[in-house]
């Protein structure tokens, strides 16, 4: 689902301010519109209502897991990628096939992941 915007809009769910700022910079540089959220409640609001094309979801949002957001996104058919600092631990069964970006990741990894999402 693409909007009328020329630039695709991306939902960035990340509670680390430094990381969020850096990603925002990168994404902006890559030609994305970025909507940030550090808390699950805000994320859910945005995921339900905002006009977004893609999403990067940190699994841990200030103590809350971001799977409810992923559920909304899946329902809306918006592609997303998880990011996590928790290593290779297993995701819950429902999300096992989703792509995960292992922190820390560089711009190339980010670009590849986003590219894959967009193709899908």
């Amino acid at each position: 689902m693409t909007t009328d915007c020329v630039q695709p809009c991306i939902l960035l769910a990340e509670d680390e301010m430094m990381l969020a700022m850096m990603l925002e910079d990168r994404l902006l540089a890559s030609g994305y519109n970025v909507i940030k959220a550090a808390r699950l409640s805000r994320c859910l609001e945005l995921a339900e209502s905002a006009s977004i094309d893609l999403a990067i979801l940190d699994i841990n949002l200030a103590g809350d897991q971001s799977f409810p957001v992923a559920m909304v996104l899946r329902r809306r058919g918006i592609p997303f990628v998880f990011s996590s600092g928790y290593g290779d631990q297993d995701l819950p069964e429902a999300w096992r096939n989703e792509k995960v970006l292992q922190k820390p990741y560089d711009s190339r990894q980010l670009t590849e992941a986003l590219a894959t999402l967009r193709i899908a």
Partner: protein, 1155 residues
């Protein structure tokens, strides 16, 4: 002929088989079936038997005549007897314990039918029938008993019948009818030969032969027994052995040596029972016994003789009677000599064992004087000891003597008159003066009435008369002239009046005569014998030759000798006799009086006096004698002279003869005395033998006891020698009685110390209380225990002291046992130590035995498993298997597959209260010294904490990983942001390193408190530290003022705020109030509640610095403070660049909203 058939359990089959083999034409046989029937049960016996025979089968009714070829069946609950061939039925039957229907019927059958009675004992339990069978045999009947397949008598009634020894044949039931028919046929044949008295005529002729055979073989002479009885009994044996004629039987006797014995037993059959004829015993009790017991000293012996005692019932009855009369207190001794020629019977009497039922005995007597042994009654010892049984023939052997009572009942009836008389005399001799004689009711004294006084005429109780004398010469063993003097009286009785008168009338005309016996004693004087007699001086005598006129003695002597010798009449004519001065001619006639058998016992000596001879004047008439008168006279003188000489010679001879005779008499009397003494000795010998026999029995018994004691003694010695338990036997005075070898370790004991007081022996142990302990044990009679502890390494002993009890339970000292318990105590201590460890362990320790049951359970096990020891000890080990468990656990608990060595595994146990406990179990097998497994031990450790710690560690590692990665990501972002804002590399390096340092400081603070949080004041001080003027960080610096509560910030807030403060401080140092000495910075903070959350309000205020110009472009710092902090902490930040100085207000929640 009536056949009585008795049966009990199993009898029906026997009855059926019996009649199945019995032909319809059974001759004169009639059958009476007697069975044990339940009193209230209607019997189908008649109907059932009726199916097997065509003879009429009738249930017996009272008054029914017994007809041949009929079968009569006893009705239920009735007593059946027979009288004059008519059945007698009386109802109801006696109570069970007195109900012996077969005995009752057999007895009545015997009395009614005599030798025509037949009794058959068929299958059945018990002994009913045996007693009745005895009666049948006593009356000469036939007795049969049923055999099994093995031709032995069946157990139960048949075996008991056979045990009487009187059964004629033991046969299978199918052979019985044939045997009965043969018997019947023979009986008929025998009866045809019998006279009116029921005895076959041809027997009498052979009786002597048979008695002779028996005398030779068995040693008992029955020739003097009643002939009729003997003949009947021989006849009975003939029927049994199926001998046609008497000669056949004698031949049979020759060929079967055993038959002598059987015939002998047949002769001896006697019926006896306890207290037979109670009236007679009553007479004995009321008349004789009080007299016998009167005036008795305590040590006197009352002597009773029971000849012909058979199996001893009579003797025991008298013993019981006497014992009852004496009472238990009477010290008088009673000896009852019970004798019989039947040694088998004596053997049974000695045993004193009688098969129930015992007739005639009251239940009280049975209870008191008998002990029950299975089916038998045994005479109690007290009664048994009163009786002495010995084989003895009352006829053949000398009698006993000095008896107080002789009871000889129903023996005389078997004997002939002569024997009876002799026996009565024997009894008279045997009794002491005033002694009593008891005979059977049908026996009498007859010709010996003068010897006894009647005391109870009807019951034949007599008392000995002392005036009559039964000389030992008449005793049985002097049987050459058994009844000599008795004939005299018999003859007298035969005289009658007419004879006497006729004899008186003829007296003057008949010659005077005397009747003499073989010993020349005058039995009769008749006529004027006085003319020829001239009694000689000296003792009065009836001897003819003492009485006779001397001139006659020679001639008469010669004549009588000849007459006795030849048995012919001797006549001496013309014996010259000088009577009253006249010469008379006498004819002497000696006429022998022959007995029936030709023996000469007596002679008549008649003196026939001829008319006086005409006085011859021979010389005057004789012419030629004139020249010779002188010579004649001379010759006559000479003759006279010679005669006178002859007379003198004869006189001398007579005198010598008389002397010899008197000497002979003397010798004879001496002989008699000796004989009597001899007999007494023999009697004593008999008694001695009886006593000897008893003594021998006692001796054997004592010997066997002695042997047993010896064996016990040696056992005890071996026990004492081999035991390692030190044992000491002391008597009441502390004298050593005995000790075991181990005792020497405790006391300095030597071999000779037995008998010395223990107090004299020096002990190796410390035991000063010995004396008082012994005294206490003797006083209290209780076992005392004491532990004797040795000093140092000396062993410890457990002393157990108990009273020494003799066999009679009397205390006779004390027994001390010393058990070395050193090792056991050591083990006990060790055990206590281990138990303490187990009990105090925080781990559950429990054991199980080889039968898979839990054997121990410590306190921690109760706590960890939540089960008390009571709930689990003794339960199977498998109760500890959790419901969800691993294969290994299941193997261990349920299938008992256990490793041989130590093993460990884990499981989760759910307590009864539902709480789960993770447990680490370690198992160790418990083995004995030889390696045999005998138990298992388990230790279960509660590993809840360990599991939790492991989980925590795992979590911590993951967290650490996460944080490091996040931190690195943050560093990456800082680097990137710094790069983006740095004009050159040195500037980048400075900014970047100081930012990293600030981050690291905050990390330090967080790490100090295990990452839970960091003090806000600390963070502020850290960030401002480079700008302080004095080094003491505790004090507020002149340039900066910090004010706020002590707040601990969570790590997230701490990191974000510290980074913000770093940027503020750096900015202040470079461009703001901290860049000039006069500049001041105030940092204040406080908390407040908003939306039910705790918020932090921190204010940064700069004053006194250079005038602030708002930044031309948004740098990293202001972006981080203005955008990053509110973003990350979900709060608000106001950053103002007023000209007086930079201010910053940070208002953020301190905790997260939990979603």
């Amino acid at each position: 002929m009536i056949v009585g058939i008795g049966a009990s359990a199993g009898g029906l089959e026997a009855f059926k088989a019996f009649f199945a083999h019995m032909p319809v034409d059974s001759g004169q046989l009639a059958f009476v079936l007697v069975q044990h029937l339940a009193p209230d049960h209607t019997s189908l016996l008649a109907e059932l038997v009726g199916r097997n025979t065509s003879m009429p089968v009738i249930e017996a009714a009272h008054g029914m005549r017994v007809e041949p070829r009929h079968i009569y069946v006893i009705p239920p609950n009735a007593t059946l007897t027979v009288e004059n061939s008519v059945l007698q039925v009386s109802k109801p039957a006696p109570p069970r314990e007195h109900r012996w229907p077969i005995n009752t019927f057999f007895t009545s059958l015997a009395e009614d039918q005599g030798d025509c009675a037949v009794c058959v004992v068929l299958a059945g339990t018990g002994s009913d029938g045996a007693q009745g069978l005895r009666a049948v045999k006593d009356h000469g009947g036939l007795a049969l008993a049923q055999s099994g397949f093995d031709h032995e008598a069946m157990t139960g009634m048949p075996a008991n019948a056979v045990a009487t020894g009187l059964v004629d044949a033991v046969l299978p039931v199918s052979d019985m009818p044939a045997r009965l028919l043969a018997y019947q046929k023979q009986m008929h044949a025998a009866q045809r030969k019998q006279g009116s008295d029921g005895v076959r005529g041809d027997l009498a002729a052979h009786l002597k032969t048979i008695c002779g055979l028996l005398h030779a073989e068995v040693g008992h002479d029955f020739s003097q027994y009643k002939e009729k009885t003997l003949m009947r009994r021989i006849q009975r044996r003939m029927l049994v052995v199926q001998a046609e004629t008497v000669t056949d039987y004698i031949e049979y006797l020759d060929q079967h040596p055993n038959e002598h014995e059987l015939l002998f037993r047949e002769f001896l059959i006697g019926v006896t029972e306890f207290f037979r004829d109670p009236v007679a015993f009553e007479a004995l009790r009321t008349i004789a016994v009080p007299a016998l017991l009167a005036d008795r000293a305590g040590d006197d012996v009352l002597r009773v003789w029971v000849p012909g005692c058979a199996t001893g019932e009579e003797a025991y009855s008298i013993a019981i009677l006497l014992r009852e009369a004496m009472g238990s207190q009477h010290g008088l001794k009673v000896k009852i000599f019970a004798t019989d020629i039947d040694d088998q019977a004596i053997g049974r009497a000695r045993a004193g064992r009688y098969r129930a039922p015992l007739n005639g005995i009251s239940p009280e007597r049975l209870e008191r004087w008998f002990s029950k042994d299975r089916d038998d009654y045994c005479v109690v010892k007290q009664i048994r000891e009163m009786c002495i049984f010995s084989p003895h023939s009352v006829l053949k052997d000398p009698p006993f003597s000095r008896m107080d009572l002789v009871s000889c009942r129903n023996l005389l009836i078997y004997l002939g008159n002569d024997l009876q008389q002799r026996l009565v005399q024997s009894f008279h001799y045997a009794l002491r003066p005033g002694g009593f004689l008891l005979l059977g009711t049908s026996e009498r004294l007859a010709r010996n009435a003068r010897l006894f006084t009647e005391r109870d005429k009807k019951q034949r109780l007599y008392m000995r008369r002392d005036d009559a004398d039964t000389r030992p010469r008449d005793l049985p063993n002097m049987r050459r002239h058994p009844v000599e003097h008795a004939t005299q009286t018999a003859r007298q009785q035969g005289e009658n009046l007419i004879d006497r008168r006729a004899r008186q009338a003829l007296e003057p005309w008949s010659p005077a005569y005397v009747v003499i016996n073989a010993s020349h004693d005058v039995l009769r004087f008749s006529g004027d014998t006085g003319r020829y007699l001239a009694p000689s001086a000296g003792a009065a005598s009836l001897n003819l030759f003492h009485l006779l006129d001397k001139p006659l003695r020679g001639a008469v002597h010669a004549a009588t000798l000849q007459a006795f010798a030849d048995g012919t009449r001797v006549i001496r004519e013309e014996l010259a006799l000088l009577l009253n001065g006249h010469e008379r001619s006498l004819r002497l006639i000696v006429e022998p009086l022959a007995e029936g058998d030709g023996k000469i016992e007596m002679c008549v000596v008649a003196f026939d006096e001829l008319e006086p001879a005409p006085h011859s004047t021979g010389p005057a008439t004789d012419g030629e004698s004139g020249g010779e008168p002188g010579r004649v006279r001379t010759l006559e003188d000479e003759l006279r002279e010679t005669r006178a000489q002859l007379h003198t010679a004869v006189d001398l001879h007579e005198m010598a003869s008389e002397d010899l005779k008197s000497a002979n008499e003397e010798y004879q009397s001496v002989n008699e005395e000796l004989q009597s003494a001899n007999e007494e000795l023999e009697t004593s010998t008999e008694e001695m033998q009886s006593i000897n026999e008893e003594l021998q029995t006692v001796n054997v018994e004592l010997n066997s006891k002695n042997e047993a004691l010896n064996r016990l003694n040696s056992d005890i010695r071996n026990l004492l020698d081999s035991t390692h338990i030190a044992t000491l036997f002391l008597d009441k005075d502390l004298t050593i009685r005995s000790y075991t070898p181990a005792m020497t370790e405790l006391f300095h004991l030597r071999d000779g110390d037995k008998g010395r007081p223990i107090t004299e022996i020096s002990p190796r142990i410390n035991y000063p209380e010995l004396k008082s302990d012994v005294a206490r044990v003797l006083l209290d009679m209780a076992v005392t225990e004491r532990t004797l502890r040795g000093d140092g390494d000396a062993p410890t002993f457990l002393l157990r002291m108990r009273p020494y009890l003799t066999v009679d339970n009397l205390v006779d000292g004390v027994v001390l046992t010393f058990v070395d318990i050193t090792e056991s105590q050591r083990l006990n201590n060790e055990h206590a130590r281990l138990a303490a460890i187990v009990n105090s362990s925080r781990d559950a320790i429990f054991g199980f035995s080889m039968d898979e049951r839990i054997s121990s359970w410590n306190a921690s096990a109760e706590r960890i498993f939540g089960l008390s020891a009571d709930q689990v000890v003794g339960q199977p080990l498998s109760i500890l298997l959790p419901s969800e468990s691993s294969e290994e656990t299941r193997k261990f608990f349920a299938s008992h597959e256990r490793p041989k060595r130590l093993a460990e595994f884990e499981m989760t146990w759910t307590r009864p209260d539902g709480e789960s406990v993770p447990l680490a179990i370690s198992y160790s097998p418990v083995c004995s010294q030889d390696g045999t497994l005998f138990a298992g031990k388990l230790v279960a450790r509660d590993i809840t904490e360990r599991v939790r710690a492991a989980r925590y560690t795992e979590m911590m590692l993951a967290e650490l990983n996460h944080r490091v990665k996040n931190t690195l990501a943050t560093v990456q972002a800082i680097a990137q942001q710094t790069i983006a804002n740095a004009p050159n590399l040195p500037a980048f390096a400075e900014s970047f390193l100081s930012r990293l340092l600030a981050l690291s400081h905050t990390h330090n603070l967080l790490a100090q408190d295990a990452w839970i949080g960091a003090s806000l004041a600390g963070i502020v001080k850290n960030e401002l530290a480079p700008y302080r003027q004095d080094s003491d960080s505790r004090m507020n610096d002149a340039r900066m003022r910090l004010q706020g509560d002590e707040i601990t910030l969570p790590s997230k807030q701490a990191l974000a705020i510290s980074m913000a403060l770093h940027e503020l401080a750096t900015n202040a140092g470079k461009y703001g109030s901290l860049s000039v000495p006069e500049g001041r910075v105030a940092v204040t903070w406080t908390t407040h509640m908003k939306d039910q959350r705790l918020w932090l309000l921190l204010q940064w205020t700069e004053t006194g610095g250079p005038t602030v110009a708002p930044p031309t472009r948004r740098g990293f710092g202001s972006r981080l403070i203005g955008e990053g902090v509110p973003y990350e902490l979900d709060g608000e930040v106001t950053l103002a660049f007023s000209p007086d100085g930079v201010t910053c207000v940070i208002d953020v929640p301190l905790d997260e909203v939990v979603s």
